[in-house]
């Protein structure tokens, strides 16, 4: 049995009387795409926040590569090798794609308080930025200012920026939200390419996308794990269908 890259043990988050995340214990295998799905309000984003350090759990722990990362700040979590995308795209609109990826890659340096040597000499940073752009298919847009790109392209840039930090594990929060069919297909293809060399934990509502890229799926309902299994198992599961048909489904 492969050692889990990321693991949660009894992870919980309470907001007053409400348990947004309720005793979730999951293991995420290295090199796999693990989707987390569930009806609205199931606690998926909160769960992701607990993994990335945006929120501190009320109980339980998070383990990455065998070491506890519970309660670390988002920055420290990122430095351990976990990258995360947000629902709102927030790139540097006045900078070019390359410059966006550059600053993301540069953020991994221990200190940027360096005043004398030209940054452009840092071939390692440039290479990381170029690799990220290539992987995301943004090579043609390298010198284009982000403000001039479409929403979908900016989403790709956002992903490229995360890749530029060379994480091992990527957390995606609804990467396909608000996209039309063609854009979605491009992003799904991108996610597949990324999955070749990275581990992915993905929240998504687009079921076709989920079923086509995920290796394993966890269904969260009311903050607790309803079921975890392979794509086929989840598709067939009566309990999952009941949970979805009984609750609001969002497009």
């Amino acid at each position: 049995m492969t050692e889990a890259l990321l693991e949660t043990r009894g992870l919980s988050k309470q907001f007053g009387g409400l348990a947004a995340v309720n005793d979730v214990s999951l293991a995420f295998e290295a090199g796999k795409v693990h989707a987390v799905i569930g009806p609205n309000g199931a606690g998926k984003t909160t769960f992701l926040n607990l993994l990335s350090g945006e929120m501190h759990p009320s109980a339980g722990s998070v383990w990455f590569k065998g070491r506890a990362i519970t309660g670390l700040s988002p920055d420290r979590v990122a430095r351990r090798g976990i990258g995360r995308s947000f629902q709102r795209t927030n790139v540097f609109t006045e900078l070019t794609c390359f410059e966006n990826c550059w600053i993301a890659a540069q953020s991994r340096l221990p200190s940027s308080l360096r005043f004398f040597r030209p940054a452009a000499r840092r071939g390692d940073i440039g290479a990381a930025a170029e690799r990220a752009l290539d992987l995301c298919g943004l090579r043609a847009r390298r010198d284009q200012v982000a403000a001039a790109m479409s929403h979908g392209e900016r989403r790709q840039l956002e992903i490229a920026m995360i890749l530029a930090t060379e994480p091992e594990l990527l957390l995606f929060d609804e990467p396909l939200a608000g996209m039309g069919y063609r854009e979605s297909q491009e992003v799904i293809a991108l996610l597949r390419r990324i999955a070749e060399k990275h581990t992915i934990v993905l929240i998504e509502h687009d079921m076709d996308a989920v079923f086509s890229i995920a290796d394993r799926i966890t269904v969260l309902v009311n903050g607790a794990v309803l079921e975890t299994g392979s794509v086929a198992a989840i598709q067939k599961s009566a309990a999952v269908q009941a949970a979805y048909l009984g609750a609001e489904e969002e497009p």
């Binding site: 988002p74 927030n90 006045e94 600053i103 940054a119 929403h151």
Partner: protein, 339 residues
Amino acid sequence: MRPLSRPLLVALIAALALLAVFPQFVERYYVQLATKMMVMAIFALSLDLLVGYTRLVSLGHAAFFGLAGYALAILQRDLGFVSLWTTLPLTVGFTALVALLLGALAIRTSGIYFIMVTLAIAQMLYYFANDTKWLGGSDGMFLDAKPTAEIFGLQLFDLKNRVTFYYFALGALVTSFLLGRMVLASLFGRVIDAIRCNEPRTRALGFTTWRYKLAMFAIAGALAGLAGYVGAAQDGIVNPAFLSWHQSGQALVIVILGGMGTLYGPVVGAFALIVLEDVAAGLTEHWLLFIGLFVIAVVLFLPRGIASLPLAGCVGRLRKRGGGAAPLPERRAAEAGDD
């Protein structure tokens, strides 16, 4: 900061050559005026680092300009230091240190508060200089001698000579420009670019942004100190007016007039404004009225400054390749995170 485009580089070198031969062809008055312009140019250039590149609008930058002048005066009068090799580094170093300390306080605030706090800090220094006898009160202090430039007793150059002083100032200007560009091209400069464009996102990437802003504040303060040093050495006097907010305000006008976020823009702006003031003062006693109207006109009609004019545009497309910063939007951006 983007690299200078070829046409722009050529223009700058041409301008430098012009400045280099200028004193050989004109009378003393113009050499002195040009020196004064260069002092203001260094001062404005240092402010551009803050305003144009880091989007920190300081209304108290004159604090460092004046501080350096007073430091030089005290070094001369009370410690007997006259050598350029000691007074210059000590003055600039002292100013940088003070900038670091005051900046640590000011950087805690942002936006409007920062503008007001920097103004208040400069005013504090102004009143302190004005009210303190030891600093000469409202009359200020005289600098009895120009800094000497000797090595092993041999005089390298004589700053009492106006033309020599002119070249000294020119050297300071070129050094400031190159230093500014070096800093902006470094890893530090990349972070500054990011902070200017989207500070919350920069923080989200893990950068402790206040440290970078503080460092820039200190660097800009040090360069303003250099300007103050040259200015005080030229005038032979330093008084509270060096610290006044009109000095800060004028520098801000110059930065916008020339074109902020370019470094060379403020240099152009300094020359333009000083010529304008010189001409206006010759025409009427109430020339400040026209300067006020001029400032308003610049804000309304030429907010991106001279560097953005079509003439300058043909020297290089400034936004994309011209060595400038990504421009400051005239309209205030909606709250952070706007897509």
